[in-house]
Structure formats: structure tokens, C-alpha cells
């Protein structure tokens, strides 16, 4: 930006307006720059606008953050630190909540994988077709999945009794494994 003006042409001057206004040009380039401004009405007009703009930028005051907004944010921050965030005033994601939902989703996924994976197996074959080991393994799988969902429910406070998962997955599994001795 500080190389001397080789050709004092308008586009070159335009390209260096910012450097000129910021005082970043060296002395000889500044002199040539100003000589061009004195002899070129178009560049002089452009310079006048740039100068006016620069002056106007300096007059723009920052908008003040309202006090009540600031104090509300500080109160929320302090409450959040103490684990008592007022959720009506805190915006944005709530990480703890997200992690809990992830735990629930994980448990539900395991349940679906194990439960649904076992269902056709259990439903399409008579009990006489299963070995004792297969029955025991199926029971352990399903009970494990149910315990995961139960733990996630306790953790999140969200229980699945009325959820579609309960009606469509848990109950059928429970009905299926109950008769197994």
C-alpha cells in the first residue's frame, strides 16, 4: 500500500483512498496523491465524500445497553453459576437439558435396537423352538434396555408411560416376555 504512485491515474488513487485517509502513505506518495486530487474533479469529489463519511463515522455514538437488560443478564449469569438459572430470562441452548435428552435418546435407541431386534425372533417362533440360553439372553437384553430407559426417565424427569414408545415398543415386549417361564 505504501509503494509510490507510478501512474497518477484515477483508479490508482481510488485504490489508495483508505491508506491516504488513514495517513498510511509515505510523504512523496501523499504529495502526488494530493496533486492529483487538485487537478481531477472526479477524484476530488470522491475524496470529499470519503472525508465526510470519515467525519460522520466519528459522530456515530454507540447505542447504550439498557440497564434493566444488563442487570437481568448479570442476575441470570449468577443464578446459572449457582445452578438456579431463571429459565424465563436465559435465552439460548441449555446444555444440561440437551445432554439429558441425548441420554434419553440413547436409551430409547438401545431399546428399539434390542427390543425390535428381539420381537420378530420371539414372535415368529414358538417357545419350543428356543433354547434355554436364547430365552435367557433375550430376557437379559430386553430387561437391560428397559432399565436404561427407566434410568434416563429418572435423570430427565421425562417418563415414557404416555409416550408412543411405551405403547408401541415397551408394552409389546413386556407382553411377549411375560409368558416365558
Amino acid at each position: 500500500m505504501n509503494a509510490p504512485l507510478t501512474n497518477t491515474v484515477c483508479h490508482e488513487v481510488m485504490d489508495r483512498f483508505d491508506s491516504y485517509l488513514d495517513g498510511d502513505l509515505d510523504v512523496s506518495t501523499t504529495v502526488r496523491f494530493e496533486q492529483h486530487l487538485n487537478s481531477c474533479p472526479d477524484c476530488a469529489a470522491e475524496h470529499a465524500v470519503a472525508k465526510h463519511m470519515s467525519q460522520a463515522f466519528g459522530e456515530i455514538a454507540l447505542e447504550s445497553c439498557p440497564d434493566d437488560l444488563y442487570y437481568r443478564a448479570v442476575a441470570s449469569s449468577k443464578a446459572s453459576r449457582n445452578g438456579q438459572a431463571d429459565r424465563s430470562t436465559v435465552t439460548g441452548p441449555r446444555p444440561t437439558r440437551i445432554i439429558r435428552w441425548k441420554a434419553l435418546a440413547l436409551a430409547a435407541t438401545v431399546l428399539i435396537m434390542l427390543g425390535l431386534g428381539s420381537l420378530p425372533y420371539l414372535l415368529n417362533r414358538s417357545q419350543a423352538d428356543f433354547s434355554a440360553e436364547e430365552i435367557a439372553q433375550a430376557r437379559r437384553d430386553v430387561e437391560f434396555a428397559l432399565s436404561l430407559v427407566s434410568d434416563a426417565g429418572r435423570e430427565t424427569g421425562v417418563f415414557l408411560q404416555n409416550d408412543i414408545l411405551n405403547d408401541e415398543v415397551i408394552q409389546p415386549i413386556q407382553r411377549t416376555i411375560t409368558p416365558i417361564p
Binding site: 470529499a48 459522530e59 455514538a61 445497553c65 437488560l69 443478564a73 449469569s77 446459572s80 439460548g92
Partner: protein
Amino acid sequence: MPLDSSVLAAHRHRIYDFSLRLLRCREDAADVTQEVLLRFWQRGDDIEAAAQLAWVMRVTRNACLDHIRKKKTRHGYTPATEFIDDFEGGEPSPETLSESADFRRHLEQAIGRLDEPYQSLVILREIHGLSYDELTEALELPLSTVKVYLHRARRRLRSALQQRLTAEELTP
């Protein structure tokens, strides 16, 4: 370790002003300001004092752009027409006040019509006075790009003003 609230207070006006200029809606700017203050509070001393301003502005800008994206997705985003209008510097004469206020109003409107990242660059450089180094951090752009974009943005602003104002109104 959370920040001292005096550090939070030092940046609150910048956060709110930047949000308001990007979102053009006081309610949305308040939401973003609160979100950023909370995040700033939580990150606290992890951020070096010298890097705090750029960090705060980067988080504010990202929060604003997220806000705009969500609004666009939900209901189609229409930028508000509200713009900042209060003159709070010095005590110019009534004539100067009206002329400079008029020019400034047009300038602020032209800034509001700039695309990203030009708009953020102009606001952060010209109104908030960030250094080039802080701009590269805040906008996550290389220095050369920052300079080129800023030059382009200023040129667009001059061109926009020249289209809207008379030669007389354009000169100081």
C-alpha cells in the same frame, strides 16, 4: 472462573450496539445481548484481556447471524426498518446538526443495506474502532481479506451516498 461483573459491564454497550445494528430490532438485540453476556460470563478468565473484545464481537456476530437464520427458516426474514437515530456527540449548531444528522442517517441506512461480512466490518472498524488485528479475530478472516473487504465496503457506501444525496449534501 466467571468474570468480574465490571468486565462484563465494560463490553455491554458494544454487544448491544453491534446486535442492534445487525438485527435492527431492539427486542432481538436484547435477546442476543443477554445470551452473549451469559456466555462471556461463563467463559470468564479463559480469555486473555487483550483478546476479549474480538472474542465478544465474534460471539455477538455469530449469535446475530444464527438469529437471522432461524428467523428466515421460521417465518421468512424481513429486515426491520428501524434505525439508530440519536445524536449524542458535541453541541453543533442547529444548521450543522440537521445537515450532519441527515448525512449520518443516510450513512447508517447505507451500512444497513450492506451484505455480510461488509456490514460487520464497517460497524466494527468505523463505529467500534477495532484494530485490523481485532477484525481478523472477530471475523475469522485473514488480514489481507479484511483490508480488501473494508476497502470494497467503503467504496460501496460512497457509491450509495452519491446515489441518494446531492453534491452539496455530500460535502462536509
